[in-house]
């Protein structure tokens, strides 16, 4: 490649980010769409398989930045999860388990009806259980939302993600066992990944606040301190081929539950978080390829319909018992619409394990793209209908 061309290639990402940001601001102001929706769409349109502009994601600096951005969001997400609540109000946990179980069953049934083999159908169903914490938290922060629907969406999303990771790993184990015949080899890979990544987060959760306290800087703004720690953790995890996302999530969660109350870290990690979010969602959009979408579009819609219905029923069922109104229960379920980008994070890992899920699970790509656009919109809609967003008072 001539030298000036490599120079241009380096410029592609900054330009894509600039474009996504400008579009995001404009469309957000004019149409009120969540910004991340626009970022993802921009990434999708510019990606290698569509316009051919962005280099293929999956390696290099962009991947590291995306992991860091994702890590920052998940740290904050982990920090906002209050385990004691699940103990004080067991109905929240009950609705989480029922909702995730119902989603699995419904999606599995639809996928089988559509002619998928049982194992891929189960994989797909396990992925459909998870609601994306990143998208929900971004919308919550963008709308400055607070109240029961907000709290429930965040906690239920955490629950169904944990369940999804658990079920997904069991099924991947079965899958690889069928292909390779070695059960141990199949599961050990993902179990080691989970354990080591989690342990890294725990270590940071103990070490970082301790260090900060010793330095005597906790009283000030802790935003930079924790951002630096998350960046370090993500880079470490990525270089060790562990899961940066999981490590960051555990880090936030442990920090919160040791009641090491932070000095006020800015929501979203302030301007840094906003900036990296643009990159993250452009990146996510760019991982989806159109030919794959076209292949599974019909099944995708059937699956998404079943998923939404299962979540609505599962969460609403327990609304009254868990101390809120039927209406807010229904809206909490609606807010759970975004499908997890954890999906993609996990796919990248399984790819390294020699399984290409996107190839096997044709409807997944279409579902992911559709929800990248519609998911945040539905969440935003639910929060607005619940009256939990901060209206701009004029």
């Amino acid at each position: 490649m001539p030298e000036f061309l490599t120079g241009i290639a380096d410029l592609v990402w900054p330009f894509a980010i600039a474009l996504a940001w400008v579009l995001g601001e404009l469309v957000h102001r004019v149409a009120g769409l969540p910004r991340i929706t626009i970022y993802a769409l921009t990434g999708f349109l510019l990606s290698q398989t569509q316009a051919g502009l962005l280099p293929a994601p999956g390696d290099g600096a962009a991947m590291l930045f995306a992991n860091i951005a994702f890590g920052l969001i998940l740290f904050e997400f982990g920090y906002r999860i209050n385990l004691r609540w699940l103990r004080a109000n067991p109905w929240i946990g009950a609705s989480g388990v029922v909702e995730a179980g119902a989603t699995f069953a419904a999606v599995f049934a639809v996928a089988e009806l559509a002619g998928m083999a049982p194992l891929p159908a189960m994989l797909l169903a396990s992925l459909a259980m998870a609601s994306s914490p990143a998208e929900i938290l971004r919308v919550v922060n963008e709308q400055r939302s607070s109240g029961q629907v907000t709290e429930r969406a965040l906690h239920l999303s955490a629950l169904n993600c944990v369940l999804a990771v658990f079920v997904f790993n069991i099924i991947v184990g079965l899958w690889t066992f069928q292909h390779s015949g070695s059960l141990l080899g199949a599961v050990s890979n993902s179990i080691v990944l989970l354990l080591v990544s989690g342990a890294m987060g725990v270590v940071f959760g103990f070490a970082v606040p301790g260090l900060l306290r010793r330095m005597g800087t906790l009283g000030g703004d802790a935003t930079v301190a924790f951002a630096v720690a998350v960046i370090l953790l993500c880079a470490l995890a990525q270089s060790l081929r562990m899961s940066p996302v999981l490590a960051a999530l555990t880090f936030g969660f442990v920090t919160r539950h040791r009641r090491v109350t932070l000095g006020q870290a800015q929501r979203n990690f302030g301007a840094l978080g906003d900036m990296l979010t643009v990159l993250l969602f452009v990146f996510i959009g760019a991982t989806v390829a159109w030919p794959r979408i076209a292949a599974g579009i019909g099944t995708a819609f059937a699956i998404l319909g079943a998923r939404l219905a299962a979540k609505l029923v599962g969460v609403t069922l327990f609304a009254h018992a868990s101390g809120t109104s039927w209406r807010k229960g229904l809206l909490s379920a609606l807010a759970l619409s975004p499908m997890s980008v954890l999906v993609l994070a996990m796919l990248v890992r399984t790819h390294a394990m020699g399984i290409d899920l996107m190839d096997h699970l044709a409807p997944l790509a279409a579902a992911t793209l559709f929800l990248a656009i519609a998911g945040p919109l539905l969440t935003q809609w639910a929060l607005k209908l619940a009256g939990e967003t901060s209206e701009k008072e004029t």
């Binding site: 004080a88 906790l218 809120t324 008072e393």
Partner: protein
Amino acid sequence: MPLEAYKSSRPLTLGVELELQLVSLSDFDLVDASPDMLHLLERKRFPGNVVPEITESMIEVSTDVHTGHAGLLSQLHSIRDSLVQAGDMLNVGVCGGGTHPFQRWTERKIFSKPRFKQVSGLYGYLAKQFTIFGQHIHIGCPSGDDALLLLHALNRYIPHFIALSASSPYVQGSDTLFNSARLNSVFAFPLSGRAPFLLRWEDFERDYFTRMEDTGIVKSMKDFYWDIRPKPEFGTIELRVCDTPLTVDRAAALAGYLQALCAHLMEGAEPAPAEDDYLVYNYNRFQACRFGLDGAMVHPQSHETMTIRDDVLATLRRIEPYAVSLGALPALEHIRQAANAGNDASFLRSERAGTGSPEGMVDAAIRRFRDCAPPSLAHNTL
């Protein structure tokens, strides 16, 4: 609307209103949870009364009318337990404290109710900055004249109540150096301060209220934000200078202290109040807000200077006989210990130093409200 007729009530009956903070248990910031809390509390009979306040992160509870400290305290305990239970269901922490130490007033939402929206329209940012939390104590008086006399006789004791209840050292993330920074927000309102020096209800109605009403500035007693104001429809005077303490025990003790003090004043045991008493009033009030129990107050008649703590301790000794007959001795004992050990503002500052963050103060406040444990125990509840 003319001033309501003064409704006679049994002397020395008492009742308490508390404005409480609703805090997210996830990040310890204020959370706009009052609609959700009220919805949940409506399901069961509430052991008292609960209403929304101007912003959605506040809730106001009030007790029935009581004759003594014990009944009041037991109802406050039931109220607290109901609130804590509802909060647990909703991931909401409930706590006292005159201010939230780091909430940003720009984030607050005005509760959807016409009067609140109207107040917000009139006062602009003052309304949102009014996300502050006070305790109001009502004392029953048989007639309007009695009410006004008692109201003015209390003028020299106002600093006691400010200093003993003070629990608002931090505002918007910074140490204000005040014990009660909350009252600074109240003073920003044009109709705050003290009631005019009129000792007969007839005069108050004719020479003050009606004339003020004619100017168009006020429509009812609600428009006055005085430190103590008469409440004719209840037949009480309402003391409004207290920060909401961190525990309901302290709230009940303050009410018991006020009750015994009023019994002492109603006997005519002290020189009658005079207009000139108010010469030192604002200065003493500032000392109490700024320095708490260590503040120096000037006696309005002898012009002698003493610390507020010493004056509280001396007063406790003077009013003890009245407390015996009212059953308020446990309240006085609580106040004596508080005067010696320090108020909630000093507890919060020590939590700030110990945990290293403003969130740590809120966490400690939530635990104290829940357990009412003394500070030394509260540290170990986790």
